[in-house]
Amino acid sequence: METRYILKKDHLAPWLRRVAKSHRVVAPVKNRHGDTLYAEIDGLDKVELDLAGQPQASAKSFFLPQQEVLFTYRTGKGGYEFHEPATPAPATVYFGLRSCDLSAILYTDVVFMGRHKDPGYRRRREGAILISIACHQPHPNCFCHATKSGPFLEFGYDLQFTDLGTRFLVEAGRSRGETLISQWRPFFSEAAEEDVKLQYQLALEANGLFRRNVDVGCAVRKLAEGEVAEGIWRELADRCQDCGGCAYLCPTCTCFTIRDEKLGPEHGERLRCWDACTLEGFSRMAGGHNPVAREQHALKRRFQHKLRDDVHKHGRPSCVGCGRCVGICFGGVDIVGFIDRLSEEDLP
């Protein structure tokens, strides 16, 4: 059994302050408008950490930015040359990641550090230490218990914190996490058996607090067997209003586009930006032909990819149950509604 530690809440800020001397620290911060966002902390005293609520967006943009410069280029008489900008990827401690968001990073690792080695992603990911916080109060739209990506994690984290009231139970999953503890060992004491029991109790309770009961397995099975009626795809497509929001907000949607931005007659930038497979221009080819019939299939790719193709490829769906897309769809057709609809079909 791995060693478990206790960090008193009083010691959280002092410990983080020390960590921040050698690392950039990113954590969920509640801003003065009341929104919680993952943000770079500069000065722990200036911000309000929010370890209870779910940040409004995942940590995706820290690893796959909404827009990044891949290269600058020059063209003209001197030839056509691409230069890689010097973008620093400082060693970063991500503190207070929700379980769903950490699970999502494990998935994006597969996309960008598997067969294809994405240089930018790798640079940012290799310098990252992931510290998650176990959720005991799921957000109303959450269903990570159904996608097995929370509320408490069993692997994948460097450290996992569990709030035990006056103290955190800290579990080290990887050596990088262990290092952060051993470097400042005096802050940590070994966990007692009742601490571990309490965590177990909290995990059980958390699992009972989900308000949504989402039958992901049913959707996975139906998609695998091609049992989704064409009429459902058509209805989804008809309601989709092209905002791209579901894909942009989704912690595991990684599709991107690459484009050139001309900055002058002889120079420019090659940018990589988020893209969404729900958009018409995503698959449209030069000349106008589109192999995807959008009027019928605007959302088919996205749902199939998450609930069928990734199950086939990686053994599990790539939806992490964070629920952020629930209620944000302009046309009212989020993935949870889709899954619910498939499972309702089976009801008598």
Binding site: R32, H33, D238, R239, Q241, D242, C243, T257, R259, E261, C273, D275, L279, E280, G281, G288, C329, F330, G331, G332
Partner: protein, 527 residues
Amino acid sequence: MTNSINEIENSEVLLVAGSNTTEAHPQVARRIYDAVDRGAKLIVIDPRRTKLASRAHIHLDIRPGTDIALLNGMMRAILDDNLADDLFVEMRTENFYALRDMLYRLDLAEVAAVTGVDQRLWQQAARLYARARKSVICYCLGVTQHICGTNNVQAYANLAMLTGKVEKEHCGVDPLRGQNNVQGACDMGALPGVFPGYQPVSDPKARAKFEQAWGVRLPAKPGRTLLDMTHGGGNGPVRGMFIVGENPLLSDPTMDKVRETMENLDILVVADIFLSETAQLADVVLPAASFAEKTGTFTNSERRVQMVRAAIPPLAESRTDAEIVIALANRLGYSMHYQSTAEIMEEIALLTPIYGGIYHDRLEESWGLQWPCFDRAHPGTPFLHKYMFTRGKGHFVPADHQRPAESVDEDYPLLLMTGRIYHHYHTGTMTRKSAALNRECNEAVLEINPADARALAVRNGERVRLASRRGAIELKAGITERVAPGMLYTTFHFAEAPINRLTVADRDPGSQCPEYKVCAAKVEKLT
């Protein structure tokens, strides 16, 4: 809007008129979809089969410009079925009898003929609207951009008052404002007849207040409207212009006339973030900062005044419009000094009763405040007319159907409407600079019904010539059932296909809104 956007999702009946809501006001459409999913009934009045219309329980696909006739028909149905809110009419309105008499004289067969809508359909819609407890009307430029725009609006107000669907939460008449701060620009008195807060320039008391505050004599005569200024031609009344962030060359009707005016001015000063089509004609172009580079407030469609915050300093040598105006004023011999835009807002609050309690520090601590907000203690007003019409009792103004300024004939047999699409905004000066939006849509498309396309032997995607009595442009044809036979639709976002070369300049005498929704046109195949 008299309501808040979020009230819409709790309405029981939604009547959406002349608004392509899913494309032009996505967040309002989001609430409408929500409401319908919860069981609300949706009535759409629109000549086109928009995305929203295709989800409507009742789609009244009237001929463009026949709203009044339809509304009169609906109100008559309400009287016939005894569905009027008699108590409300009695207590809260005036001039009902004039309306009633007009409605009883109405020839229902003629209404059906004029609107092209089946009588049973509009009667059904009227009953639905009148019977629900919470019915809301949303309308947009499809109602106002007609020569009878003011009467159109009044007709919708008549309907709401007749059934008592005002002065209550989830009930009301909501104009959806097109541009991000068009509400604010009006509130701030960027209009020829009123000071900030709609205080008439002709009112000596209002004038005295502003004269005292600004230390100068102020003109009493209302000024010229936009079209008066831009359509003067070579020898118009206006000889010098200062244009801030507008592109009248593309947005105003009868483009060639506007160009003539601009080219013949003694002086044209334009402040903009891009070298717009209008700026290209200027004598002096001043580079302005974008919204991301300045701090201030916008007022949205639901009258919510909220902060815009500078994320970065002004790019390159650009300056905020406020800095530009201040510099100009000082050069013109009027001393103007503000430490911050918050200080400007303090002056607005001082002089504008409906903004009387709006200060930047309050906005910083909230999601904005909805006017009227009279003082610091006032919480703002989520829905208007709560206990009282702002002007006292609601006044019925009966109106008759009025023929559009232009009608089709043998030479110009098709009826052209113009509007917006989802991916672009206004004349495209900003959205056309966005790669993602351009990828989704980078070309004006002329929507044409399959039957008309067949008759003209036009194929989908083919470039065609579109002409009116004033000019012609070339653009791509898109064959779709969204438009009825005999009708055409396109957008005004694209400088390559400047549709306002074609549109009519006839306008509503009250609102001065040009009739962008009706223009006789013809389509020709390019050889």
